[in-house]
Subunit: 197 residues, 2 copies
DNA sequence: TTTAGACTAATATCGTTTTTTAGTCTAAAA
DNA sequence: TTTTAGACTAAAAAACGATATTAGTCTAAA
């Protein structure tokens, strides 16, 4: 029941996979770096792929967790939307392996890995969905089809996510994201505006 | 001055590159399929890369042209935004090589090719920009920073573009796109709504 | 339980040979 | 003049076999 062993293995694996990728990282190296026997890794995870998938799974969970926390800090649905967007982009940075996953096009990598990626997307949409639902219930948002709207916003945010991998300047992302949330709030045709940049 | 030769070469090249990619397509094949001598291709284009880049350039131009036309058909700025989104996704389908370009992650391909891709993005943003500008001038859109808003919308649409490569069902895209434009118009906080799905 | 380490079978790497292909050239045909 | 077929070269890619790594197993000791 030495949980710390598994912990140590996964932390090391996360770093190594993040730096060198799935192929170029060997279990012998991970074992050496994590100061455990290779057999121990097999005891816990059974295969190299499952170590990798577990790393991805934890990254996804961590992101969802952190986003949920940030959203939970806010009270007003509007603030929650903004918190969501900010948190997502801030914490995505730490999910190196998930990030590399769609930098590499996903193709060659395990199908399971892609499903974790798309599951993350759906969980994000779920969070957006519940924010929107709350907003509608409170009478501050007006939407015909909440799940559809959530999904659309989710897709829109993906555009930033993927471009951001190339773009380096964090400020640019901030600006654009602010403008997008602004539009999402008030639309193009409303006179109401939040504080301008 | 036999323009038709160049035309034939480019049409054939577009098909072959689209089907087999840059690497797996040989100039000998293109020459054979286009019923011209290989030397003729070199007369016109000078190198294989330049043939490929010319194909990309034409695809980009065609898209911009078709989008501009579709947008031009509409009078109201709101309709123009919708026309833009629809046209973009409809005609992107035909730009096979540009599409493959970011399916393959762009990495391995020529740097010039990427610049054509990002140039296309900027031209699209320019179109959106002028639509928004017109809307603001006519008093139907309200925006602090038009270019920023245009860029944000452009990024948002990229999210669909990239996801759509994986998703097969065209209808889904339609639905989501409709919802997104709806949000972009009226925002989350406005009671005004267009006809619902 | 964990460990070090030996072990195997599959996979990847590497260096070499062979083939393909981008790009050039020429002389004839259009 | 321009285009063509085809020969040609140099460079890159594919094929291939030999070598080395590495995923995964097993064992006996700690």
């Amino acid at each position: 029941m030495k949980e710390e062993k598994a912990e140590s293995i996964l932390n090391t694996a996360k770093k190594m996979f993040g730096r060198y990728g799935l192929q170029k990282t060997t279990l012998d190296e991970i074992a050496r770096m994590a100061r455990v026997a290779k057999a121990t890794i097999y005891n816990y995870f059974g295969s190299k792929d499952r170590v990798y998938l577990e790393v991805l799974r934890r990254e996804a969970n961590e992101i969802v967790e952190k986003i949920s926390f940030s959203v939970g800090q806010e009270v007003l649905p509007g603030d929650k939307v903004i918190a969501f967007a900010r948190a997502k982009f801030q914490y995505m940075r730490q999910a190196i392996n998930i990030l590399n996953l769609d930098r590499d096009g996903i193709e060659k990598v395990l199908p399971k890995a892609e499903s974790i990626r798309s599951e993350l997307f759906e969980r994000e949409v779920d969070i957006i969905c519940s924010i929107l639902e709350e907003g509608v219930k409170k009478g501050v948002f007006y939407l015909n089809n909440v799940p559809l709207a959530a999904s659309a916003i989710g897709h829109a945010l993906r555009g930033f996510e993927l471009n951001w991998l190339v773009q380096e300047n964090e400020e640019q992302i901030e600006y654009h994201l602010d403008e997008l949330t602004n539009i999402i709030f008030y639309g193009l045709v409303s006179e109401k505006r939040s504080a301008n940049a």
